[in-house]
């Protein structure tokens, strides 16, 4: 053929030209700028800390690694961490998926009630939840234990303590699982809600029963959502420190996160070397979980999203409807209501005792603890403002980046994606310490400002923002924005008119998640907040170390009210939207 030679000589020119064409438009440029800032607030502090792993006092060294490997109980530390994270994530997965399925696909659903209930653990900052559970199930003074003992006494069984002990493996795993359930539940129900009902209907028509359909069609089709939920649960488990610290430590269960915090904040001078060495194990573990989730995602890529926002016909559970409902309600009572009740009782009672003086309950203690205390009030205001603003910045930035990553599958895009999710793979503590080292002193002098907290919160909760934004973007699909581009809309317009409204339910949910995380944050707050810039997490830690359970209970009660209101409003909003048919028709059909 005569054209072959010309074709061959074309090639280099073509390659070269493509490079010049890849200059980003204004939309991409803004996105890349945001991505650069987001990555910098994580990577720079991290680099600051990590260089210390190999570079101490101006010289290359393996000393920190040697010191870490020399920890006498390293083996049991790792094993305990692994057992705790795996067991609590597995339990949370089963509970979360079960609840989501009952709620989305069966007539056990009770409207907004069941929608919101499994998310209730979000209401309670983990540290408050852990305290609440201690108040309930402490062997001697635990309220629930005492009530059970009273009940057993009626049958002539006399116990002096127990029957339950929160400071045990089962207690710890259970409370950790309760806190991981919302991650699984949120993702699983979003997946189920968007699933094309025709997939399930086809299976039922092929003769498969309810549970066979669930197992062979529904769950595999929503595997990406389930994988995302499980990954979040694992991340949460690895990074969580307040629950294992309060419940696990007295039981002799020692996990990495607690040890890192101890080494950094409760040891003087701080053993940063060993803390960073331990973080390395966390990095490996979370990296493994991430890789597994990617594999699941790749396999489940072809799950289809419903057209026309169709809602599946719910499955009639028949006689099992009420038992299923009772199961859901029982879970909620057990996981959330009871600890909240314990907190409220103790805060109204004024001090912690199994013998509540029911007639003397009053708001005096609550009022005194929260609203008459200038520092606490200031902390509340600061936390709310930071949650509002930080959540907004985080989710909008993450949305733009998620869009960029979805549209451009270049190496750069993949790198940005990985970098944004990086904080999850590193102990929050480490990043917070890095931010402190980097920004508190010269030349920034941000110590004691709200800005340093904002930066810290953003850095820590970027992965959550990113995952929520990814889910929202993937729900919009390819053709709807393409139709907009062909209609002549520029990228900014396509973003504001097509992507944004379609992603809105997902973004609002993501914002709520960030808000709640930031308001209830303990990790960054412990390190970056002070008396000059108090936040709720900082106050809780102060109160906790001073040992005032009644005060702690009061503070937690107020937090519950705030996060609860946000959660209910957001849920009502996203439900309404998804009924309007915002779930888009995606893909070829």
């Amino acid at each position: 053929m005569s054209g072959t030679g010309a074709l061959l000589s074309d090639r280099p020119a073509g390659r070269h030209a493509r490079l010049s064409r890849r200059l980003p438009g204004p939309f991409d440029a803004v996105t890349l700028l945001i991505a650069a800032v987001f990555i910098a607030i994580v990577v720079v502090p991290l680099g600051r800390v990590l260089t210390r792993l190999f570079w101490v006092d101006g010289g290359l060294t393996l000393e920190p690694i040697r010191k870490t490997l020399a920890i006498p109980d390293l083996g049991s530390l790792l094993l305990d961490t692994l057992i705790l994270v795996l067991a609590s994530s597995a339990l949370a997965f089963v509970i979360g998926v079960g609840l989501a399925w009952l709620n989305e696909r069966t007539n056990a659903r009770m409207g907004l009630l069941t929608d919101a209930l499994p998310l209730l653990p979000f209401l309670l900052p983990p540290v408050a939840g852990a305290v609440g559970w201690t108040m309930l199930l402490s062997p001697r003074a635990g309220l629930l234990n005492s009530w059970i003992r009273d009940g057993l006494a009626v049958f002539g069984i006399e116990l002096r303590e127990g029957p339950f002990d929160i400071n045990s493996w089962y207690g710890l795993i259970l409370v950790m699982a309760f806190y991981a359930v919302p991650f699984v539940f949120m993702n699983a129900s979003a997946g189920l809600r968007n699933l094309d009902p025709a997939l399930e209907e086809a299976s039922r028509l092929s003769g498969a029963g309810t549970f066979r359909t669930l197992r062979t069609v529904t769950l595999p089709a929503v595997a990406p959502s389930l994988g995302a939920g499980l990954l979040l649960a694992v991340w949460f488990g690895v990074g969580m420190f307040s629950i294992p610290a309060i419940i696990g430590t007295p039981a002799g269960i020692d996990v990495i996160s607690v040890r890192i915090v101890e080494l950094l904040t409760f040891t003087f001078p701080a053993e940063t070397d060993v803390a960073i060495g331990l973080s390395f194990f966390v990095v490996v573990f979370v990296g493994l979980a991430y890789w597994l989730q990617l594999r699941i995602l790749r396999r489940g890529r072809h799950a289809t999203v419903a057209g026309k926002g169709a809602r599946a016909k719910t499955i009639d559970l028949g006689a099992w409807k009420w038992p299923a409902r009772l199961l859901v309600l029982g879970y909620v009572v057990f996981s959330t209501i009871l600890p909240i009740v314990a907190l409220v009782l103790v805060s109204l009672n004024g001090f912690w005792t199994p013998d509540i003086a029911w007639s003397n309950l009053s708001f005096t203690a609550l009022q005194r603890a929260v609203f008459d205390d200038a520092t606490t009030l200031q902390a509340l205001v600061n936390s709310l403002g930071l949650g509002l603003v930080g959540g907004l910045i985080g989710i909008l930035g993450a949305a733009m980046i998620a869009l960029y990553v979805a549209r451009r599958r270049t190496l750069l895009a993949k790198g940005i994606d990985a970098a944004i999710k990086l904080p999850a793979a590193i102990s929050n503590m480490v990043i917070a310490v890095g931010i402190l080292l980097l920004l508190a002193g010269a030349p920034f002098f941000l110590s004691g400002t709200l800005l340093i907290l904002l930066i810290g919160y953003l850095a820590l909760y970027l992965p959550q923002a990113s995952i929520a934004a990814d889910a929202a973007v993937s729900g919009v699909g390819k053709e709807l924005p393409e139709a907009s581009a062909v209609s002549g809309a520029r990228p900014f317009r396509t973003f504001s008119r097509i992507y944004l409204p379609l992603m809105m339910p997902g973004l609002v949910a993501g914002w709520a998640l960030l808000f709640i995380r930031m308001v209830g944050d303990l990790t960054a707050s412990a390190i970056l907040a002070g008396t000059a810039n108090p936040v709720v997490g900082f106050r809780i830690l102060e109160v906790f170390t001073s040992g005032s359970f009644a005060l702690l209970a009061s503070l937690s009660t107020v937090l519950v009210l705030i996060t609860g209101t946000v959660l209910v409003v957001v849920l009502a909003y996203t439900r309404r939207k998804s009924k309007l048919g915002v779930a888009a028709r995606v893909g070829g059909v």
Binding site: G3, L7, D10, R11, A13, G14, H16, A17, R18, S20, R21, G25, G307, K308, G309, E479, L480, E482, A483, S484, A485, V486, S487, G488, A489, R490, P491, R493, T494, R497, I498, P501, L502, L580, G581, V582, A583, A584, R585, V586, G587, G588, V589
Partner: protein, 399 residues
């Protein structure tokens, strides 16, 4: 090559040159979804890209829309270069001033029909359409496609056919010179499809836009097209009017893909100008060449359409006549299809008469030499066989 022509009625609306688009499969293998494609769409033309699933139709359409970046070649719309690998030009889709209808309609679920249709009017750069004009033109477009009463409905509240009409209105509202269609009728039921097809043709003829229409349905292609481009594994096998494609197929692949056809394989025994004599398993076949050259001894296929054959009980006076045995006459209303075993092949024949011969009887088949196409086996023959492994020396129908 400099594009110095100015826009005039002679300038093609679309000009695609040597376009190549490669995809890397999950397995790592590289496929040429578009393989050196060159073609033009003239002003007011209705061009259909026709081919089986996976032959690259959608990819070709998407590269023209700017939704996919080709690897090599160039694309010009109305004389302006939109893509050129050599000059390093790539115009984004929003600046190409074209409209497209997606297979899934791609109506925005959070907007009413009115807002969906108004969107292109409000989005194009460099032009501010006043509010009342927007309303007027949207209503006009909705009336044009016959769904004026749906303007306040959301896509989720419409039937597939109605959504299709809204998508059409959205594509037409801007009066673009070029409208791209990606199998827009494949998701609606047969009755609606026929109706929409009919309306689409009259609309296109009336409004005068150029259309590039992707389908795998040959009937649809025949009905709609001024010209058809038959695609075969990313290449254009033939580009011509429906009549040309049907009566003068350039390759065996095209012949087999469009309509029903009889095929006998054999060896060329004599060539005289465009007339060729072929020795086949059931005797001598005299046919005509279309463009190609063959020499004595070449392996070729002699092909002819079932409606061109004649059936008789007595031996006819014809150059091509073969005795066969009737397997089964099949009455299908407008005609009767007779299936005959002739030598080593099965031959299909359509006749308006249903009482010519009975099953099991012997009968003569004849066909005029000018109705028989002789096509070389090499080259595309491999493709055609690969496409339909059961096609061997027998009857092929594409439907």
């Amino acid at each position: 090559m400099p594009l110095d022509e100015t826009t005039s009625s002679a300038t093609p609306v679309v000009e695609v040159k040597n376009l190549i688009k490669r995809f890397r499969r999950e397995s790592g293998a590289v496929v040429n979804a578009i393989d050196d494609v060159t073609f033009e769409v003239a002003q007011g033309d209705f061009v259909v890209l026709l081919g089986p699933s996976g032959c690259g139709k959608t990819t070709l359409l998407r590269t023209i829309a700017g939704l996919e970046t080709p690897d090599e070649g160039s694309i010009a719309i109305a004389g302006r270069t939109q893509f050129s690998s050599r000059e390093g030009i790539e115009v984004p889709p929003e600046r190409r001033d074209i409209s497209m209808i997606f297979q899934s309609y791609a109506l925005w679920p959070h907007m009413t029909a009115f807002k969906n249709v108004a969107y292109p009017l409000l989005s194009r750069r460099g032009r501010k359409v006043p509010k009342d004009e927007v309303a007027r033109r949207v209503r006009e477009a909705l009336e044009l496609v016959g769904v004026g009463e749906l303007e306040r409905q959301y896509p989720g509240q419409m039937s597939g056919g109605q959504q299709q009409r809204i998508a059409l209105a959205r594509a037409l509202v801007n009066n673009d010179d070029l409208v791209l269609f990606d199998e827009p009728l494949s998701n609606v039921d047969a009755k609606v499809r026929e109706q929409l097809r009919f309306e689409l043709v009259s609309m296109q003829r009336k409004l005068g836009f150029s259309a590039l229409f992707v389908t795998h349905d040959q009937t649809e292609a025949m009905e709609l097209a001024h010209r058809i481009a038959v695609l075969d594994s990313g290449r254009i096998a033939q580009f011509g009017s429906p009549q040309e494609i049907y009566h003068r197929p350039a390759t065996r692949y095209v012949a087999k893909f469009i309509g029903a056809i009889n095929e006998s394989l054999g060896t060329v025994s004599a060539v005289d100008g465009d007339t060729v004599v072929v020795d086949t398993g059931h005797g001598r076949v005299v046919g005509a060449l279309v463009g190609q050259r063959v020499a004595v001894g070449d392996r070729v296929a002699a092909m002819w359409r079932p409606e061109r054959g004649l059936l008789s009980r007595e031996e006819p006076q014809a150059v091509n006549r073969w005795l066969g045995r009737v397997k089964a006459p099949m009455f299908v209303g407008s005609h009767t299809e007779y299936l005959l075993a002739v030598g080593d092949v099965d031959v299909r024949l359509w006749s308006p008469r249903s009482d010519l011969v009975d099953a099991g009887a012997a009968a003569w088949v004849s066909v005029a030499p000018e109705d028989v196409r002789v096509l070389p086996l090499d080259g595309d023959g491999r493709r055609a066989d690969a496409e339909r492994p059961s096609a061997a020396p027998a009857m092929v129908t594409a439907s």
